[in-house]
Symmetry: C2
Subunit: 325 residues, 2 copies
Amino acid sequence: MPFLNGTSACSSDFPLLRTGRRVSNENGETALRAAQRRTCELCKFREGCLGHPLPDERQIATPLITYRRRVNKGEVLYRSGAKCEAVYKVRAGFFKTMMFSEDGVGQITGFQMPGDLLGIDCIGCGKSRCDAIALSQSEVCAIPCGNLLRSSRDSEALQAHVLSSLCDQIGSNHGVMLLLGNRSAEERVVAFVINLSERFLALGSPWSEFQLWMTRAEIGNFLGLKLETVSRIFSKLDEQGLIAVRGRHIQIRQFDALRKLIGGADYHADERRSRGRASLRSPLVDSKIESPDHEPYAALRLAKRIIEHAAAMGDDISTPSQASV
Amino acid sequence: MPFLNGTSACSSDFPLLRTGRRVSNENGETALRAAQRRTCELCKFREGCLGHPLPDERQIATPLITYRRRVNKGEVLYRSGAKCEAVYKVRAGFFKTMMFSEDGVGQITGFQMPGDLLGIDCIGCGKSRCDAIALSQSEVCAIPCGNLLRSSRDSEALQAHVLSSLCDQIGSNHGVMLLLGNRSAEERVVAFVINLSERFLALGSPWSEFQLWMTRAEIGNFLGLKLETVSRIFSKLDEQGLIAVRGRHIQIRQFDALRKLIGGADYHADERRSRGRASLRSPLVDSKIESPDHEPYAALRLAKRIIEHAAAMGDDISTPSQASV
DNA sequence: CGGAGTTTTGAGACTGGTCAAAGCATGTGG
DNA sequence: CCACATGCTTTGACCAGTCTCAAAACTCCG
């Protein structure tokens, strides 16, 4: 059951409600939960999904995921200032989160892809502080905050999961701060591309060749650069043969050379006292990928597990397709 | 009972252990808890302290704060990569937290002052990702992670408190990202000074005149600037009469003019759709300060509460003193 | 085919970085 | 109490990297 792939994107089946809102009557709830269980079992992000009851815990009473929602390109999933109602697991498509200063200056705080959590950063404050905007036709599973908070008081594992998501986000933010504060434009762009590549790999998608689903301006905004600078650097890297750029299509040609360009630009300090070992943990988002440095992409171990799992589930890994973006 | 003020700093009383380690035998524990309760009752950060049982909750079984610890200037409270054992409430003194990339580039991720939490950002991951280093003679209360996690499963209010601390940190980080990505050197430095000022105000310390407890290099590192740039901007602001700078002593002369320099450089989007109202919420750290814009420092309301409280407790608010730094 | 939005590329301006040297404050030892 | 060393800060001169403005090319979509 491919999701959001090519032409089937707009006609794919929706086991959960089409309304995008919670079903409240008892009958509906039963059908919903059955459908949900069925769908979650097939879901490629089941493992490690907040919405999925954890193996070592007794079944959580409340179903965490109450509905799915399709979000069209450009549509706002939630807006800053709005009451924080739910946390969202991205099931398909791509998002950006963006904050605004009072004078209207916007800063993209992150890009989310399938498997990523959206809105976990406002579970502790009543209101969202970011807009979350779909960059492509997308789909999310919603986990209402109330459910999540209640259940994570019952389940130690779920509590740990929530906290770990929050901490990962903080770690990732610190990484971006290091990037913005200490790295040149070129290093930032390269780190960005490598990060995307690693995240695609972890998803089981092609990692050496992919589509950017955001504009140069959005990349620039995220990296603290102007769009022209981003464009120039892409062109330069292309000339040098490190990557091939055709519009939003990126192909990585010399991964090691790219890594060398950012030197040790890995923002995780965990191993910094043992300088010998290189870590490939994602620079922009801590994706929990560890690797020895003899295999350039040793996030492979994790990725393999994910791919095998997805395959076993008969699930296709969704790839961003420019056509549908 | 002044803390860390002038000459009394090194001789002040220590109700909890001098060893800085937990007392484990039953007798010690009892004495410890009694001392702790006594001291917490006098503590000016009691309100809103993670370590303090919350009013609307049944008494939490385990005492959250198990020990106090004095940290000398330059001493490391915890190191990145180390097992995350506790969260720390800064009771006196000042800290910086710093992360390192693999190639040794360091990025200061924040400065902490009395009342701030340290290490909450790694409660979800086993290991710290930052070094926490005292910038002055300091003192912290330690809340072991185990206690905190257990208790915050029992107490909804404590759970909310922990999550809110984490989210505040994320919000603050996003603010810094906006600062680094979108603001000029001058705007960054001004935002930094205003932020410090507001935090001193919230502490009940003089807000228009204070000591910087960090070097120009540290400010620059945090703001993504070189120390020379920071110095030049301080000099320029001094010439313009907006602030008076004598080494690490800062006096704010024209607060409104400073605010104007950073325009609406407030990173919180909450109110951005109602542009009329200016928000003084701290740009670098979300200190929960709200204010109408007719009083330049309307964080005053909160501050007053804090000061009154401290006064009622007979507690002196510690002020950073360059001599002791 | 035309139009909107995005991307590329160029030329020139300017911010902030680099390097260097002098000034200052603090602390130590004679 | 002074001389000296150390570390921090200030200031200047110069330069590089990035931004700004502008125009043309390209892509996608109706």
